[in-house]
């Protein structure tokens, strides 16, 4: 299935990109599995393994690690928020 991934703030800077589209392997069915899959790219991508309290959203709603992914989803990774 095809998904779009967005990165924000310090994560966006560390990864050098605000977003990407990708075709997911069969084995990647949750947002946590996606995070581990992206960590596997190594180099800068390790940031997805060591960002404290990494936040994840699916289709603009906060997601849990076990939240399932489906074709066409917009997934986002970002650090804890600091607005207000």
């Amino acid at each position: 299935m095809a998904i779009r991934i967005l990165y924000f703030a310090a994560l966006r800077e560390a990864l050098g990109r605000p977003e990407e589209s990708m075709e997911l392997p069969e084995s990647v069915g949750t947002v946590e599995a996606l995070r581990l899959h992206l960590c596997g790219r190594s180099g800068a991508w390790e940031v997805l393994g060591r960002t404290r309290n990494l936040r994840m959203a699916i289709n603009q709603e906060m997601a849990q690690p076990a939240s399932p992914l489906k074709d066409g989803d917009e997934v986002a990774f970002f650090p804890p928020v600091t607005g207000g």
């Binding site: 709603e61 600091t82 607005g83």
Partner: protein, 148 residues
Amino acid sequence: MAVRVQTEDFDAGAEIAVLCAASPEVGACASFVGVVRARDGGDGVAAMRLEHYSGMTEKACEAIVAEARRRWRLIDVTVIHRVGELAPGDRIVFVGVASAHRGDAFAACEFIMDYLKTRAPFWKQECTGRGSRWVEAREDDDAAAARW
């Protein structure tokens, strides 16, 4: 109810006037204005940039306001959050709540701010004389939101 995410400044007095006039039953309007501090601890802040997740931001703010309306008797609510480049002394955020009685207005206004701080996808980047840095989330803010 209005939620606005914008680069422009806002007029707190005009927003309060609209809230006060929302219904003949309004007796109380509690509001909050957040400001870019010119000094944060020791370092002088030269500028600030507010990044957000367009689309999710508005949804998250609306969900927070809807939750406040479930918890308290509110007549009207306005949330304005600025994004983009800001300077020290600039207003960042406005939350205003109109209600018949002040207890509901105060509680909902503080609740909305605490939830905005922890659940709405905004990120602050500060520029000081020593370069720019992403502001760290504060445990205080998590504790404040967990009270409700």
